[in-house]
């Protein structure tokens, strides 16, 4: 580029004008990229508990038009105060992930393949197994001849995420079957 003295004056003149303009606050930059509105604005907020470990951090589920649009920590929850770890922070993908299981998956004993089954089939299977094992292992009287009505063949492992009322129902159901091996543990 050959710059004559005259050209140089022109360039610097324009430059000075340009510099002054920008200093006055004329920002001609397109800001469109981040001009969008907060996408959870006006969304319905429902509180819930993270489904993973026993800490039980609080979460807010944002829904709009009946669809979940975001899940994040609930700052009003006393245990977690809005914080979430990797698993909790990724909870949104529980709903949206393309690899999410949407059907009951069943692997028969000694089989190497998983098969997709219906919920009706699965619930019937569970009921059948409970009936079979309960009948097989039911102890009406112990060695001393005392009535105990125990079902020794089934153990139950509950979740830490069920609340008092649900826990009461769960316990009642298990006791009515005669179960004595009842645990509640989350870190599984």
């Amino acid at each position: 580029m050959n710059v004559t003295r005259r050209d140089f004056m022109k360039i610097s003149g324009v430059t000075v004008a340009g510099a002054t303009l920008s200093q006055l606050g004329f920002d001609l930059t397109p800001v469109h990229a981040y001009a969008t509105e907060l996408r959870i604005k006006g969304a319905k907020e429902t509180t819930t508990v993270c489904c993973y470990c026993s800490v039980g951090c609080g979460q807010i589920v944002h829904t709009s038009g009946g669809k979940i649009i975001n899940i994040e920590g609930d700052p009003d929850q006393p245990t977690s105060e809005g914080a979430l770890c990797t698993k909790g922070a990724g909870a949104f993908e529980l709903v949206t992930h393309p690899q999410r299981l949407t059907k009951v998956m069943y692997r028969a004993p000694r089989s190497t393949k998983w098969e997709a089954k219906s919920w009706d089939w699965a619930l019937d299977q569970i009921a059948k197994k409970i009936k079979k094992n309960r009948d097989k292992s039911f102890t009406e009287k112990n060695a001393k001849g005392e009535v105990v009505n125990r079902c020794n063949g089934i153990a139950a492992i509950g979740s830490c995420h069920i609340n008092n009322e649900e826990g009461w129902l769960y316990q009642k159901f298990l006791r009515s079957l005669g179960l004595v091996y009842i645990e509640m543990e989350a870190r599984l």
Binding site: V14, P30, E72, C85
Partner: protein
């Protein structure tokens, strides 16, 4: 100085990567295909769709294993070299939000590979990333959509340990000085990394190089000088494109 600032207190970090996932989730960034490389650091590096990454650095010293965690992200420089470099190259797609000080990239604007290299090289913290397919460039946005509405950035909101902090610059710097003072008593090497020129301040208790290659710069005045020079010559550079 007004605006917002992050404080990343690495002594509190357990490397749970909650910040990393929260960042992906809020910014709707897709997952990155990764392979097992014998480290918990995953993905391997920042990319067009990974703005936040917990770096794991494991080293043995005097028979003892030390494990350093470094929740890497854009530093949102007060005088951002990337912005001045991009402007010098004629791009208007990197801006600085006046109210918060956030440095923002427009990921929709195409940037030539060679120009991107110049922009990336101008960043002392090795942050900008480009998508080869869309030719756009991207990095941490300071969750500008959230902070404009008074919410915390997604990473800070998620952090369970208090490593990630965010707020008005003066308050965060006070907090940083307070934590630094407490840590100095136990860790004489404790320091804030380039706090005076950055809006993402890392608090470390050992040599920054042990945490991450691009954790800190030794001579921050050099950065501001480069930025200042770029700022000065920028109108000439952009003009030369039309004339030359």
């Amino acid at each position: 100085m007004a605006g917002k600032t992050f404080l990343v207190d690495t002594t509190k970090c357990t490397a749970c990567r909650g910040c990393q996932v929260a960042c992906k989730q809020w910014n709707k960034n897709p997952g990155t295909k990764t392979i097992q490389r014998g480290t918990h650091q995953n993905p391997e590096d920042l990319c067009f769709s990974t703005f936040k990454l917990v770096r794991f650095s494991e080293m043995e010293e005097k028979g003892k294993i030390n494990w350093y965690f470094f929740a890497d992200q854009c530093r949102h420089c007060i005088e951002p070299p990337c912005m001045y470099t991009a402007q010098g190259l004629g791009y208007k797609s990197i801006i600085r939000d006046e109210k918060t000080g956030a440095v923002l990239f427009d990921p929709k604007v195409k940037v030539k590979a060679a120009d991107f290299k110049t922009i990336k090289d101008s960043c002392p913290w090795n942050i900008p990333r480009r998508d080869e397919k869309t030719e756009g460039i991207a990095k941490c946005t300071m969750c500008i959509d959230r902070i404009r509405e008074g919410l915390l950035p997604a990473c800070v909101k998620a952090c369970p340990t208090g490593t990630m902090n965010f707020g008005d610059r003066d308050k965060i710097l006070d907090m940083a000085q307070k934590s630094l003072k407490e840590l100095k008593a136990v860790y004489p090497k404790a320091k804030l990394l380039n706090a005076e020129i950055l809006r993402t301040v890392f608090l470390v208790v050992d040599d920054p190089q042990k945490y991450h290659k691009f954790a800190a710069v030794d001579d921050p005045t050099a950065i501001t000088r480069i930025a200042a020079i770029k700022k000065l010559i920028q109108p000439f550079v952009s003009l030369s494109r039309f004339i030359g």
